[in-house]
Amino acid sequence: MWFDSFLQWLANTQFSTVIRESTWGEPIIESMHVLTLTLFLGFAILLDLRLLGVCLTRKRASEVLAQFNPWLFGGFAMMVISGALLFSADPVSFYNTHPPFFKIKMIMLVLAGLNVLIFNLGIGRKVTEWDLSPKTPTTAKVAGAVSIILWVLIVAAGRAIAYVLPPP
């Protein structure tokens, strides 16, 4: 399959080899990936808790969204970059783990993205109408709850990947 040959090509690039064979490359990138959880996962969960109406309730939801957004984007960019670097160090093994935790993680990332999209196209567009009341509408609560569940599962799948990767 063309995708398998792409992974094979990626594994053979100098870029991939440098990360794979350097002593400190992977530990540093991995630490960045894990410690950026404080920025990305932390802020995402706090935002979800606001949508659920259990945290930062003193602030308007629209205000919380506006203030969290730049940090969430920055944190997500760092997660994606560090994750992509880790992946490119050994793409064939990542893609073919048994059980397929990597594929599960990627599917759930897409679902989390869809959740954000649905929120922004739906109830999120009307945020200024409902954020004056301390209670959030049910659809916003569902979006928050789905988001928390997906991110917890994504962290779990991510952790599991390391357990089923073949040792270097």
């Binding site: 530990p27 991995e30 630490s31 894990v34 410690l35 959880l37 404080t38 920025l39 990305f40 996962l41 932390g42 802020f43 995402a44 969960i45 706090l46 808790l49 945290c55 930062l56 309730t57 003193r58 602030k59 205000e63 203030q67 940090w71 917890v152 962290v155 779990a156 952790r159 599991a160 357990y163």
Partner: protein, 174 residues
């Protein structure tokens, strides 16, 4: 030294406890507990970043620091408790090995300082009337918080990369 002996025997007790044994012998319990540790890391780190960015004047303006602190405080304390309990369980699987691991010792020292600081001086700065506290104090408080908690985080990351020589531990084992 008696304190050293006391801590070492505590580590040995952890190693032999039912949870130390149970998690060590299971293929999936260790990563399962680790997931709680990671989620706790996200939430605890998130709440601390929100407060520190506010103190630094970089983000989350428009609300008094004391109100913001009151809002995120239950989540900060809750996630800290999740991290301490899950961390203790992970530690108990190889407690004696951790005893001789300098990265683990550094992490625990930073953790002790970070907790002491967070619940005393830091708390006082968060609660202080903003008009009566010069920005330099708020910025210093935030930087010290970031420094101490980063020490905990990087210490934790380093644990896995430090290989302990068995002799340094067994030499003092009774």
């Amino acid at each position: 030294m008696w304190l050293r002996e006391l801590i070492l025997s505590f580590c040995q007790w952890c190693n032999n406890s039912f949870f130390g044994h149970g998690i060590r012998d299971s293929r999936w319990l260790f990563p399962f507990v680790e997931i709680f540790h990671l989620i706790g890391l996200g939430v605890l780190g998130g709440t601390l970043l929100v407060l520190n960015l506010r103190l630094l004047g970089i983000g989350f303006k428009g609300e008094k620091t004391s109100d913001l602190s009151r809002d995120v405080r239950p989540w900060m304390i809750g996630s800290l408790m999740v991290m301490v309990v899950s961390g203790f369980l992970l530690f108990s699987t190889e407690a004696v090995k951790m005893f001789g691991n300098w990265a683990f010792r550094a992490k625990m020292s930073f953790l002790l300082l970070a907790i002491l600081y967070t619940f005393t001086i830091y708390r006082w700065v968060l609660r202080a009337d903003e008009s009566r506290l010069a920005p330099v104090w708020r910025i210093s408080a935030a930087l010290l918080s970031l420094l101490l908690w980063s020490g905990v985080g990087f210490g934790g990351r380093a644990i896995g990369f430090v290989t302990t020589s068995a002799s340094s531990v067994s030499a003092s084992t009774p």
